[in-house]
């Protein structure tokens, strides 16, 4: 699905106005720290994966997604998943009062002593699959133009556009399906697009540039 999160090529969003690197704090408020950590700790309960987490943020109304700050979007996604996965009820979330004293006995919360190991382990997504890759380096490919109804990592600005296979990263868990809880491997490619293909001919003396996008085999067809 497209939505408020799929921003490549949008105009009118104003200047970047970066804070100076030397003085920018990692977090800008105490609540941001807690939202970050609550999201990480809740994620470690393994009731959802990273793509489900992304999808939960993206499913907000685009106006909300764009108006919210970054960690407000994290908070909204976390609340959605806690309810959908049955860890909290809507009433508990609204009142802040636990309705049910007995929590799921199978759940072991992330312990402080386990944090380094959990972070170090990460979540590798490379897979060994039987099928060989459909494309080889240099192939001319077109990105599927359909907008899937659910989560996808093929951004709108490359849909229907022609690019060239520049890299083969092996088989990775296919994010679009992973967001529906299915862990299936597909070959992943680095696809190069020219700015002329994406945005039309050079205007105002702009020189051509390349955009590299990682796309899975189901996103692509030979062109």
């Amino acid at each position: 699905m497209s939505g408020g999160h799929d921003l490549g090529g949008l105009s009118g969003l104003g200047p970047i106005a970066p804070e100076p690197e030397s003085s920018e704090p990692v977090f800008h408020a105490e609540w941001e720290k807690r939202v970050f950590a609550l999201t990480m700790a809740s994620g470690s309960l393994r009731r959802w994966n990273l793509d489900e987490s992304r999808h939960a943020r993206e499913r907000q109304h685009p106006a909300d997604y764009l108006r919210n700050s970054y960690y407000e979007n994290w908070l909204a996604g976390l609340e959605t998943l806690l309810v959908e996965k049955g860890l909290l009820s809507v009433k508990e979330l609204a009142t802040g009062v636990s309705q049910d004293e007995v929590s799921d006995k199978e759940i072991t919360p992330l312990q402080a002593s386990d944090v380094p190991q959990v972070l170090s382990r990460g979540g590798p997504v490379e897979m060994v699959i039987e099928r060989g890759p459909c494309f080889t380096l240099g192939d001319r490919v077109r990105v599927c133009s359909q907008d899937p109804k659910a989560h996808t990592r093929a951004p709108v600005y490359v849909r229907g556009r022609i690019g060239f296979i520049k890299e083969h990263h092996g088989a990775h868990v296919f994010a679009d399906q992973h967001a529906r809880g299915q862990r299936e491997g597909h070959h992943l490619y680095g696809v190069a697009f020219s700015s002329n293909e994406l945005w039309g001919g050079p205007e105002n003396g702009e020189t051509e540039f390349k955009v590299m996008v990682d796309l899975w085999e189901p996103h692509l067809e030979l062109a």
């Binding site: 921003l7 090529g9 970047i16 970066p18 408020a29 950590a37 970054y70 600005y157």
Partner: protein, 213 residues
Amino acid sequence: MADHDHSHEHDHDHTEPPGDLELKVKALESLLVEKGLVDPAALDVLIETYEHKVGPRNGAQVVARAWAQPQFKEWLLRDGAAAIASLGFTGRQGEHLRVVENTTTVHNLVVCTLCSCYPWPVLGLPPVWYKSAPYRSRAVSDPRGVLAEFGTALDPDIEIRVWDSTSEMRYLVLPQRPQGTQDWTEVQLAALVSRNAMIGVEKAQQPEDGTAA
């Protein structure tokens, strides 16, 4: 969440967070602790890790070593994750690292147009501007304009390559080594490597900038 003031031009400015968010997040944390879903001590360790331990000084060490040791650089460009792991930087959001090199003919720039994907083990958590709508929208359509906002001007002949982090591959830019640093140690070299240079919005600092003096 709509009852606090947001200016659209500065919606990343959170120096004065609204009190209702503080309260809302505190309530959620209490509820999750009461339900036995999170341990507050683990939250503190997570925050401490990314606020003080994992950050762009890690990436600067990687870059400095690549500048100083040609064999390491060759390994880094061929198998970024393994070469970086040899310096002890591994784990979450760095499982599949790829290093892209700036040269006299190519300049690389990293973005995530769909969310905020970023190589945590070498750069820490991303800055606000990297996660902002203006950067995510324009990095892929107007990279030279974006670079200009960071005060970075490139020769028109240089090819810009923008890397949109749409998969779990994570990209780190190896900036060009500044002139006049032949005899420098890795520690001295690392001081020239800003976080922004490893995202690709700036170049490495020059010795005359005085940052490594």
